[in-house]
Symmetry: C2
Subunit: 229 residues, 2 copies
């Protein structure tokens, strides 16, 4: 299964590309600009010679796999969704990792913007074609930690979507990355709380000079059996 | 140091009273109704004969210690703050644990209300006298887990306040409870994201049939030295 990463040249997209490639997944790095996508794919291969990675413009990349990761800044989210709309097909899943930080409009990265739909993920859901499930995820994973393969991960990825099956499919992808555990947060409207975790972690990072993440405590069986039920 | 708990007859307030009493702190359980406060104090003593616990109406309780815990439902927060205003003194700290759940108005417990001030904690700050610092905290700790002394805790309490010294004083109180770690989230405006964690955890609880909590990963030294800097 190939994993298209829209905005794969950015920090989070590239970090996820690297970790998924290290897990043996085939990756397509998408960018508005083919040359930039190719440059990022080469950078990834240089770091991980075993990587199966190609490059494409976003609209092409999005057609190459069933689960499409959207890793673009909030400022560019709407524009990207408009371009993806004609190419996304029913049955595909769009994983939205967008965080509506006030930094999008030269505000603080510790402040969340109010999105009319409730969250960036709900905006994505409004702008994707019928039959494409949107899953909110990957907001709390530090791009810097992903980027450094030597760094051991030990944290959760909080997932929200209106279809459990879509959440489960993305959970399986999350589990491919060692040290990441998918946690089911329920319907897509929970995305507004998940997106709020990013500015909270940014505020913690400033104080502790670190790249913090989140772990949910108290899951039965440490959450191990949940997705197999 | 005596710890007044406003709304100490409720689930969260009583749970915190029990744990703090078990740590050797002297507690005053506050309620609108003295008889209910006394009943809760007796219940606490029955469970923990060593407890140093007394009962008072909220306005009296609030005068008995420097750090006052406010553990009331959102629906009653504003009314409680109005009654506390004349008795709180400069130099006191008010710890606000209020979560503006839609359940306050027969909506879902997985939905957060929009509070005009940005968060319940910022509403508290607006309604407390000059010189009283408001600290947001204790939103992610399950009342059920607190209530059961046999239950080992292993989670974080996220703290926000506009004065670091106030955060540090509440952090010291959090550390009295075994298994709870205080994490510095910065200024009070971060409270809106912290308050959003409660509905998120409630949604997770429904799915995993548990009482989940939160742990921040990646803190240097596991956060041990932070408050002693």
């Amino acid at each position: 299964m190939t994993v298209p990463i829209i905005g794969g040249t950015g920090a989070l997209g590239f970090g996820l590309a690297l970790r998924l490639a290290a897990a043996g997944e085939e990756i397509v790095i998408g960018s508005r600009d083919l040359a930039r996508a190719q440059e990022a794919a080469e950078r990834l291969r240089a770091e991980l010679p075993s990587a199966r990675v190609s490059a494409a413009v976003n609209e092409e990349a999005a057609q190459r796999g069933p689960v499409v990761l959207l890793c673009v800044p909030f400022r560019a989210q709407s524009e990207n969704l408009t371009r993806l709309k004609p190419v996304l097909q029913p049955g595909q899943i769009l994983v939205d990792a967008t965080v509506p930080l006030a930094a999008a409009f030269s505000g603080k990265a510790t402040r969340l913007l109010g999105v009319p739909q409730g969250s960036a993920a709900e905006q994505a859901a409004e702008m994707t074609p019928e039959g494409v499930d949107v899953v909110s995820g990957f907001h709390t994973v530090s791009a810097d930690r992903l980027r450094n393969l030597a760094e051991r991960l030990d944290e959760d990825v909080l997932l929200a979507s209106d279809r459990r099956e879509a959440r489960a499919r993305v959970a399986a992808l999350v589990e491919r990355i060692e040290g990441l555990r998918p946690v089911d947060c329920g319907p897509l409207e929970m995305a507004r709380m998940i997106e709020g975790l990013t500015p909270l972690l940014i505020s913690i990072n400033k104080r502790y000079r670190t790249h913090a993440g989140v772990r949910i405590t108290g899951l039965p069986d440490d959450g191990a059996g949940y997705w197999r039920r």
